[in-house]
């Protein structure tokens, strides 16, 4: 009986050690992956008290590379400062099916690409729920992100938006883009 007690105590300490070690890994996984999706319409939705609206989608192709398109997505975030601060950051990705994921372009040419495609010629910057230059009138916070996608994938794209403070919860919405040609 005494021996079984020692064995049980050993098993308990082993489980505790494994659990403490696993806790960090599980929290890291929850903070990284999006598995609790809220599907919304193409106009947008709300997540953790912050409203997301798709202001503009526009895809552009160049004659030199007709197989690929630059897809501009302009987003508007709106919500009380505390809710936006709880988001911490903002992650925007595009998905097509289960096996293709696009991240926004971040190269030296990204700013020029956004200004070329945007109808107003402006770049609203990266998605950031609490920018230092947030509108003083508490209006929506605009952001621009551009993706390089194959033209054949333009139909059926879904936009995922999440943040460090919301994951594994994320918003998922269909994206339909107007295709224009860059001369």
């Amino acid at each position: 009986m005494r021996r079984i007690g020692w064995l049980a105590l050993t098993a308990l300490f082993f489980a505790l050690t494994a659990g403490i070690g696993a806790k960090t890994a599980i929290l890291d996984l929850r903070g990284e992956r999006e598995w609790d999706l809220t599907d919304t319409g193409p106009a947008g939705g709300a997540l953790e008290g912050v409203a997301l609206r798709v202001e503009l989608t526009r895809a552009a192709t160049a004659p030199q590379r007709p197989d690929r398109a630059l897809l501009l997505v302009r987003l508007a975030l709106d919500g009380p400062p505390a809710a936006r601060a709880a988001w911490v950051d903002c992650r925007v990705t595009l998905r097509h099916g289960q096996d293709r994921l696009w991240r926004p372009l971040e190269t030296a040419n990204t700013d020029a690409a956004i200004r070329t495609i945007a109808p107003d010629g402006q770049n609203m910057g990266r998605c950031n729920p609490q920018p230092f230059d947030a509108p003083a009138d508490a209006g929506p916070i605009l952001s621009d992100q551009v993706f390089l996608v194959p033209v054949e994938a333009l139909d059926g794209l879904r936009l995922h938006v999440s943040a460090q403070g919301t994951r594994p919860r994320a918003l998922a919405l269909p994206i339909a883009a107007q295709l224009v040609a860059i001369p």
Binding site: D67, H96, L101, W102, E106, V149, P150, E152
Partner: protein
Amino acid sequence: MIRAADMATVLAGAALLGAMMASAPDYNSVFQPFPAHAAPGEAADGRLFDARFLGGRLARQVAFERYGTPIIRDSAALFLIADFEVSHVTASTRIAATWRGASGRDYAATGRVEGAPGGLEARWFQPGLTDRAFAVFELPADEVPGGRLVLTAPGVTILDSALHLPAPPLPGPQPLARIAP
């Protein structure tokens, strides 16, 4: 007598533990990327992308333009410009290139051609799009034959894939190779 037997058991246990600790591989040796090998000219399949070694050029000097300024780099060894094709990308990614020489040494892509048009450090590879790219290495001539190009995602590649692409037959070194997009 019983005490001597206990001491022997403890000492044997300590010796066994010491031997296990001394022979256990360290963390960096255990957790490595999974290698994916391909035959020369064939594509290797990775977790994030597939790649094929298309060909290469060897040169004593390389020339390129950085923001309109012509630049020439020379070397006491050789420059290897390795051209490869990336396809079946599953998530937007950058790619890091290493040359594993015939001796087994790993050579990182040279930073001396940073800013060259189309350079690997500024390239992103996107799902659904097949793209060509190049990596430039500076290495001794005897490390080229029998060497292979190793492509990974940048950063920590533990439990990710590393594509090992053996070099196809390469032409002899030329005095100057021009890097152009």
